[in-house]
């Protein structure tokens, strides 16, 4: 078990090699005046909370970030790696600045359980860690068993819906596919992480195949009755790949045969060469195993002022794991926004003050339809005191008029800026 002294030692070691921010944080830590927040998960939500807690408290709140992976690899932009436009290194960012510049204690480990009554988390390798408040930003986990034959075969049939080795795997399978091959992608029923992501993937893969293997097919097997995001714009994009992309709504996968990469629908069996199955998903396991209140047994039910799980004080949950407010997407951008609302709420609560009662979040999502042209969807969500949740502002937000190269440049700049906002 990591005790307080060990923690102060490691926090001091971090600050010793760091900027002024880290040093001033160390002074605060010595007195322990500001409290200790544990953040579980270092993705778009968790990394943002960690940085903003340190920044906004001028280093007086101690922050421990526990993340399984040694580097951050972005899901947004990972379709460009799969489409051969970008490399893995282009979507990978280090946690070093969180440590050295912001004085966050980053631990590469896995949290096994949260004890809300004792205010501790139990980790696989670092024992039990005490907190004043904990933020869970666990993303999603897959309900692989809901598709017969899929479990255990994720290397033959990748999801590539968490960026990393799966991204590389799907790229390799596409590179190895023969000209005239069939690539199929299964899109689960909404809600799922990144609503436009699967349609973007179909487009950038078609863009790659058109240039290199033009006899190939891209089959979009959508469990939903229609395209779930930017419908008009993706319909146009699919039309621009006429003869290559075929879109099939209401096509929920029942089973797969991994050896032959066959997709089994209710009335159809489709033999493919590369089969990309994005399974149905739910809140990350740590949320579902910690006894937090779930809606539909899948997503965490929260208070939208503090983002605490309902009835579980001190346990805040953000990002894709939430049961979404109306029209709120599960996106990295939105998780980053949740992270800032929670950082502000926690700092008020630690100081014995009321959290800000009217938080605002907004979303911007850029999707590539080829290697250069992009379409966006945007929305702003204001807290509605009567409905007790954020609601989209009528008349605000919207989509691109048409795919365009200017937004292609903005999309890349978005990535650079949001990664810096979380991690630099």
């Amino acid at each position: 078990m990591l005790n307080r002294r060990d923690f102060l030692k490691s926090a001091g070691a971090v600050a010793a090699g760091s900027s002024l921010v880290g040093l001033s944080g160390c002074a605060g830590m010595g007195k322990g005046s500001g409290g200790h927040v544990v953040v579980v998960g270092g993705g778009y939500g968790g990394a943002t909370v960690a940085k903003y807690l340190r920044m906004w408290s001028n280093g007086s709140v101690n922050v421990t970030l526990i993340e399984r992976n040694t580097t951050f690899i972005s899901c947004p932009m990972s379709n460009l790696v799969i489409g051969g436009v970008k490399q893995m290194q282009d979507i990978t960012v280090s946690y070093d600045n969180l440590k050295s510049k912001w004085g966050v204690r980053v631990i590469t480990d896995e949290v096994l359980s949260v004890d809300a009554a004792k205010r501790t988390v139990t980790t696989a390798a670092n024992g039990t860690i005490a907190y004043d408040r904990v933020v869970l930003s666990p993303g999603v986990d897959f309900m692989t068993d809901s598709i017969a034959g899929l479990s255990g075969n994720e290397e033959l049939i990748p999801h590539a819906w968490k960026a990393g080795p799966q991204t590389i795997l799907l790229r390799k399978q596409l590179e190895d596919m023969k000209d005239g091959g069939v690539f199929a992608i299964q899109i689960p029923k909404a809600p799922y992480r990144c609503p436009p992501g699967p349609y973007e993937r179909a487009c950038v893969i078609a863009n790659y195949l058109r240039q290199t293997k033009p006899k190939s097919k891209v089959l979009v097997l959508d469990a939903n009755p229609e395209i779930t995001s930017k419908k008009g714009l993706f319909t146009k994009a699919f039309d621009s790949y006429k003869g290559m992309i075929e879109y099939r709504p209401n096509s929920e996968l029942r089973a797969v045969d991994a050896k032959t990469r066959t997709a089994e629908l209710e009335f159809d069996k489709i033999k493919t060469d590369v089969l990309n199955v994005i399974p149905p998903m739910r809140a990350g396991d740590i949320a579902t195993t910690s006894g937090l209140p779930l809606i539909n047994n899948r997503w965490v039910d929260i208070d939208w002022i503090t983002y605490e799980a309902k009835g579980v004080p001190g346990v805040h949950v953000i990002g894709d794991a939430l049961f979404p407010a109306p029209t709120m997407p599960k996106s990295g951008h939105m998780a980053n926004q949740h992270g800032k609302v929670v950082a502000a709420a926690i700092l008020n609560l630690l100081a014995g003050e009321a959290p800000y009662a009217a938080p605002v979040v907004m979303n911007t999502c850029y999707s590539f339809v080829d290697d250069k042209n992009v379409i966006h969807v945007a929305s702003v969500h204001q807290y509605d005191a009567e409905k007790k949740q954020p609601m989209p502002v009528a008349g605000a937000g919207g989509v691109s008029a048409a795919a365009n190269e200017i937004e292609g440049k903005f999309a890349l700049a978005w990535a650079q800026n949001i990664w810096a906002d979380m991690l630099s």
């Binding site: 940085k51 903003y52 920044m55 906004w56 951008h333 980053n336 926004q337 800032k340 609302v341 502000a344 008020n348 003050e353 009321a354 959290p355 800000y356 009662a357 009217a358 938080p359 605002v360 979040v361 907004m362 911007t364 966006h376 945007a378 929305s379 702003v380 969500h381 204001q382 502002v393 008349g395 605000a396 937000g397 919207g398 691109s400 365009n404 200017i406 937004e407 440049k409 903005f410 890349l412 700049a413 978005w414 650079q416 800026n417 949001i418 990664w419 810096a420 906002d421 630099s424």
Partner: protein, 99 residues
């Protein structure tokens, strides 16, 4: 009204006043919703406009022009319509105060 209920009313008014009007960080919190694209505290990491240190009136005018359509935009005309005038004022003041 007895003393006890009068005190209760005063307390409630105090709490509501505190949460609504006196949180000194509302501008900071609202401005943070812009940072995904425009950089932490409005300091762009590249490819987007920096907002830090821009005069408040200039920022407000720009956002008004996006809203009205006088200034063409790919996305800002849709985003600015999601915030109230008071919120835009707080956001512009926060960015103007950044160095």
């Amino acid at each position: 009204m007895n003393v006890k209920s009068a005190l209760a009313v005063l307390c409630l008014a105090g709490i509501a006043g505190f949460a609504q009007a006196q949180d000194p960080n509302i501008g900071r919190n609202l401005a943070a919703t812009c940072a995904n694209c425009h950089g932490t505290n409005g300091k762009s990491a590249g490819g987007m406009e920096s907002l830090a240190g821009e005069p408040k009136e200039k920022l407000l005018q720009k956002m008004a022009d996006y809203r009205s359509g006088d200034k063409p935009a790919s996305i800002m005309h849709q985003i600015t319509k999601g915030y109230t005038d008071e919120q835009l004022d707080l956001i512009a003041a926060y960015f103007a105060a950044q160095k």
